[in-house]
Symmetry: C2
Subunit: 164 residues, 2 copies
């Protein structure tokens, strides 16, 4: 199955990364990687931490933070900070590059694919800079919040957003 293939590719990549840097291949690091690969879509450090705990595999928060840093450096994970909420992470599978639609009102994040745009972005080169990847965030208002805003406009009590 494809999911398993992705998992073992990630393992291999992480192993290579650690070998190259003479980092120790601890069971905690692999356990965290595995759990990350299980997470569908975005997650917080705290969710990852609890998910591991619920599996009966306890690691300290410090280790989670430390390992996530390595995974980011290895290119297996991306960090996003949408608006002012705590950092969110997402696994990088290689397949399916996408962008993020972020609602400025409620903070909800939706993914959109746009191969045309991805191709254009991939073709760009910059002087004195070796680009590795890009993140495109499109901010705006989702349809749900749009409804809410126009409703409250009529009641004349719309407030500045309290999320994001």
């Amino acid at each position: 199955m494809n999911e398993e293939k992705i998992r073992s590719a990630a393992h291999a990549a992480f192993t290579g990364y650690m070998t190259q840097r003479r980092l120790r291949k601890t069971p905690e690091r692999y356990a965290i990687l595995d759990k990350v690969m299980e997470m569908n879509s975005h997650f917080f450090i705290e969710s990852l931490y609890s998910a591991l705990d619920e599996d009966g595999y306890h690691v300290s928060r410090a280790t989670v933070y430390n390992t996530i840093e390595l995974l980011i450096d290895a290119g297996l994970v991306r960090r996003h900070t949408f608006g002012n909420s705590p950092a969110q992470y997402e696994k990088v599978t290689g397949i399916g590059n996408h962008h993020h639609l972020v609602c400025s009102r409620c903070g909800k994040v939706r993914e959109v694919k746009d191969p045309e745009l991805v191709n254009l972005l991939n073709s760009k080169r910059y002087p004195s800079f070796h680009a590795a990847y890009f993140d495109l965030y499109i901010y705006g208002v989702c349809s749900g919040c749009l409804r809410r805003v126009s409703r409250s406009k009529k009641q004349n009590n719309n407030k500045p957003n309290d999320k994001i």
Copy 2:
């Protein structure tokens, strides 16, 4: 002069925003807006706070945070969180949309303009989402860090980045 025109346009926009939402037009809010418009490129809340203090215009941090939130909602300021450093802000002048090249090693941020890309992005429409603006972050390694990395590779002691 152009700078003054931008400042008064920002004033007008902020006033309109506050009027519409029945928010109070306090001197603190205008002082913060003015200082923001003086900041060239990116700044931190802390820099803004000290800059005001150095001008002999003291406002509490709470007010700075509160006002920045309003300015973002009003579309006069953008918040960025590059890597894992504290949030950085930047004024929106309407002229000169740009993207950000972010070095994953040292955290340095450079602006690049690309009208072709901006036009393409502006033309995009999304179902059930009303886009207001976008942020494109291009992550990679700057030339300075690239030199440093290849040097340390030879010495066989390159470490995972400790910035970002």
